[in-house]
């Protein structure tokens, strides 16, 4: 087990090193694509704290992504706060919003929990849509005042890499902590966990806040990357997309959702160049996951490697 942690650590170091080399390839397009993937990967990883680790499916996770995005954009632009204040404040706000929504949602389980997250998600979307003076309504909040030192494509790439790497490291620690282990136990059997002395409600609320906070980090990066935030970011289809990323990668693996994000986003960008029927492709992918890949790509890889080790 200790060896497994070590392997994870070194693989992560290698991955970060490879990512550092991406700008050297000389393709602006690739730099942009990688930046976007990293942001979505963090978004999907944050959702998996809820889905994979606590077993609660959220249909409204885009709300915290959007709150992080709008808040960061508004603080930077409308209030002209420096980044060092704007971004943490936006992240805290996303976490607080998650705490408020979570307070109600964790009282429910299963489909009722999911439906309530959806309802709150739609509420956030409606606020973003209607509160024109602050959010820009359906025109979006455009012209985000991104600080100069990360204003250029390459600088922003490195900034994103740093933030995502640190956030992922922190998320990894949380998921493998005493808390993370207890969270899995609550997912597996809430009644039993309550009777070894776990306050299961408070535990699920904490998971909800963690997930929302990290989605807020991804959202604030997204707002700065696009120099704008649009109501679509808060729409339920966005929640659906990150859910599919998570499922595609694999729920029961920490890094699965990041892989799912990379694959799905690359496919989306690629396929959109040739056809406007991306939703058809998305539907097909979803179908394949649900029917053949219950544990996503990571589950598939594990199955294949098990097959090979059996043969040799």
């Amino acid at each position: 087990m200790q060896g497994k942690y070590k392997a994870t650590f070194w693989l992560s170091v290698v991955l970060v090193a490879l990512l550092l080399l991406v700008p050297a390839l000389g393709s602006k397009y690739l730099v942009d694509l990688t930046t976007e993937i990293m942001i979505y990967a963090l978004f999907a990883l944050s959702l998996n704290v809820l889905i994979g680790y606590s077993g609660n499916i959220s249909f409204g996770h885009a709300a915290y992504f959007a709150i992080g995005g709008y808040a960061c954009a508004i603080f930077l632009t409308t209030y002209e706060w420096p980044l060092i204040i704007s971004m943490p404040a936006a992240i805290v706000l996303a976490g607080l919003a998650a705490a408020f929504v979570g307070y109600f949602c964790i009282r429910l389980t299963d489909i009722y929990f999911s439906m309530l997250t959806l309802a709150f998600g739609m509420l956030v979307w409606a606020v973003a849509f209607k509160w024109r003076g602050v959010t820009g309504g359906d025109d979006g909040f455009v012209g985000v005042a991104v600080p100069e030192f990360i204003g250029d494509r390459y600088a922003f790439f490195y900034f994103t890499l740093t933030v995502v790497a640190l956030s992922t490291g922190l998320l990894w620690l949380i998921c493998h902590s005493a808390f993370g282990r207890t969270l899995v136990a609550v997912r597996e059997n809430r009644m039993r966990a309550s009777f070894v002395g776990v306050d299961t409600r408070r535990l699920r609320l904490t998971a909800f806040v963690v997930a929302g906070t990290f989605a807020g980090i991804a959202g604030s990066l997204f707002a700065m990357y696009n120099r704008g935030v649009y109501v679509e970011s808060a729409f339920w289809t966005e929640s659906g997309q990150v859910l599919i990323m998570t499922l595609l990668g694999g729920l029961y693996s920490f890094f699965g959702p990041a892989l799912g994000a990379a694959v799905l986003y690359t496919l989306q960008v690629g396929i959109n160049q040739y056809t406007e029927y991306w939703p058809v492709v998305l539907g097909t992918i979803l179908l394949i996951i649900i029917m053949f890949l219950p544990n996503g790509l990571v589950g598939l890889a594990q199955k294949i490697s098990a097959q090979f080790s059996r043969r040799t």
Binding site: A178, V184, F195, V196, G197
Partner: protein, 251 residues
Amino acid sequence: METVLEIKQAYKAFDGFVAINDVTIDLKRGEKHAIIGPNGAGKTTLFNLITGHLKVDRGSVTFEGKEITGTPPHRIVKLGLARSFQRINIYPRMTVFENVQVALIARDGRSFHLFTLGHALNRDESAELLALVGLSAEAEELAGELAYGKQKQLELAISLASHPSVLLLDEPTAGMSPPETVEAIKLIEEIAEARGLALLFTEHDMGVVFGISDRISVLHHGELIFSGAPDRVREDPEVRRVYLGESHGAA
């Protein structure tokens, strides 16, 4: 002997159906107290009232001299009352080792430590508990893949993690073969003896009940119709009529 657990005039109804009707029952320190009764007599409901999974409509539950009526389950455990469930209650997709480890993490109040790696915590004690119930060899297996009897043993190990003074066992041998039953009861008796545990348990196997109980209480339609020494239960006319007679008649 000192009373550790006392239920006073507990009453619980579900939509007009009276599940527990004015039941007063207690448990002395170190005592083995069996609660028997036909299916639907209210045994599991009574357990749920004690452990806080259900709330009494009237009456009170006192544990170690402290009233715990309305206290949530996770607090009651910390006072030293543990429980195993009738239907197997483990974490199927975690290893046997982790099943016990999580209970120890909770006992030490570390369930909310977000930045302490869980892996290294309470390893020795987890291993000791698994050895105690005879599951050392299965430590790294997934709990859900264990044989039924072993899952019951695992549940016992989980229950013991909180260092309880009282253990509630709901049908500890349900679904076991006769040899497994003998083994399981022997194990429970040994552990109870070694740790000075008081046991309050329900059990369908009358051989087990009469074999290990210091006291037997009989529930029928949510009411306590008898409570006393094992040798007096068989002679009680009311018990014979509603319970022992019934089961003999059925057999």
